[in-house]
Amino acid sequence: MSESYTKIIKADSDWWSFDFRSVFYYRDLLFLMIRREFVSKYKQTILGPLWFVIQPSLMAIVFVFLFSETMHVPTDGVPPVLFYFSGIIIWNFLSSSLGAISLSLLHHSELCKKVYFPRIFLPISQLFASFFALLIQMGVFIVLYLLFWVTQNHSGFFPTAQLLLLPLWFVQLAFLSLGVGTWIAGLTSRYRDFHHLTQLGLTLWMYASPISYSLRLVSPKWKWLVLSNPVSPVILSIRAAVFGTEALSLEIQLISMAISIFLCVTGTLFFNRIQRNFIDTI
């Protein structure tokens, strides 16, 4: 009966060993953890999941007043509300999941001292909880999009066939968030400094990403800087697919994809190494 669960516990310095068997065994737990993360975000609120919509909407309105109405920043012929809303929800997915993942070991250290479960579920459940919030926000975006489409007689912007690649870009964002998040989670479990750095880093990273501006406004001298940020090609590509604005070269997209995969693989391995003994030093 129990032979199938046989397990040898010993000191193990192999970076590559990953316990896929226990991930499969505990799969029911993963679904419950995702649900727990998602639901606990809005439990005991009156507006419930509406909060996922209110925050990006308010941000978009502020951006419209600040950048479009006051500073007259052009948005590539796209209605400003749609332009900013799209950028904000993409960024929110990355920053909220990354922030939560980076603290996942620290915040759950008490739990990890008491029960065994595949620790990788901590970041993964945060990722999915943020993704469900993004899905709700996307629903609102589609409604807004159709509203503008109808009232403006579909002029100026149009979806393209590239829209089919949308899932791929979301996967890339997930890789990026998981990669950077697990690196920071591992480092934060040893050095609290990285927690302070994360907050600062995310703010700076947001300004380095074309959320509130289009790439055309960036001077040619600095374009490389914006494009070397692996988030930028994702935002620009999604906007190009949704609004028919200028698309990026395949080369840049592939490079950013490669960076995201690299970060994801190394981050997960590092996390996997740290989680084995982190309760001794937390």
Binding site: Y5, R36, K43, K114, Y116, D193, T281
Partner: protein, 259 residues
């Protein structure tokens, strides 16, 4: 039949003192200090930095057997449980585990205060290694044992301490694991419930589960366990009958209090 737990020369070493870094600055200061002191004798300092919480522990545990882990605070009982529960790795040696392990080092691991009793039963069951289907099958029995039927759809943050403990223990009592690791968790709740909890655990033992039980409560350890393993400053000092083990432990306590 092969033993469910086979521990061989298990040791766990912690680094103490200087290596207890909290921030990056401490770490840099340490490396800087190390590089300056290179010519100095560091063997002595090295020795001080290591603390062996467990040293050369070996034992076997068969199905249907319950051992009481006995020892003073800091003897290594919790460290041993943590290693057996896969929460941390040993430094040397190994442990072969044949079966599903449930670590009950606290009551209600993974409980979320905002979720209802029902939701938490499933969550806690999953954290303890149960499949969703298994929890669903046992659900009615779990709720009945906890005597919380009326509040099962209330968020657990509104529960009294007793209700919380009873619900958490009920999940634990209905686990399908082959090996149960208990760390002073039966000390909670009122006396009547503690009695039921002990009886439930003895029942599980008779079904063929292996139990490792840590408690300072001599009566309870003797009621549940047949065998004692005494730990003394990380070493295994005794492995044998529960009565003799308990006596040895109590004598060592009186001796140390007299000194």
């Amino acid at each position: 039949m092969k033993p469910l737990i086979e521990v061989e020369n298990l040791s766990k070493c912690y680094r103490t003192g200087e290596r207890g870094f909290r921030s990056l600055r401490d770490s840099f200061q340490y490396w800087w200090g190390q590089s300056l002191k290179k010519e100095m004798k560091i063997e002595e300092a090295d020795l001080k930095r290591f603390f062996w919480a467990l040293k050369d522990i070996s034992f076997r545990l068969q199905a249907g057997e319950a051992i009481g882990l006995i020892g003073k605070n800091g003897a290594g009982k919790s460290t041993l449980l943590r290693i057996l529960a896969s929460l941390t790795e040993p430094t040397e040696g190994q442990a072969v585990i044949r079966g599903r392990v449930a670590s009950l080092l606290e009551m209600g691991s993974g409980f979320h205060p905002d979720l209802t009793g029902r939701e938490n039963v499933f969550l806690n069951g999953a954290f303890l290694g149960m499949k969703k289907k298994e929890v669903a099958e046992q659900f009615d029995a779990i709720v009945a044992f906890s005597e919380n039927e009326a509040f099962i759809d209330t968020p657990v943050k509104h529960y009294s301490k007793g209700m919380y403990t009873r619900l958490a223990f009920s999940v634990a009592a209905h686990l399908n694991a082959d090996i149960l690791l208990l760390d002073e968790v039966l000390e909670l709740g009122d006396v009547a419930f503690q009695q039921r909890a002990i009886e439930k655990m003895i029942e599980r033992k008779k079904e063929g589960k292996a139990i490792v039980f840590v408690s300072h409560h001599a009566e309870r350890v003797q009621a549940m366990c047949d065998r004692a393993i005494c730990l003394d400053s990380g070493y295994l000092s005794f492995d044998g009958g529960i009565k003799e083990g308990m006596e040895r432990y109590l004598t060592s306590l009186t001796l140390s209090s007299m000194l």
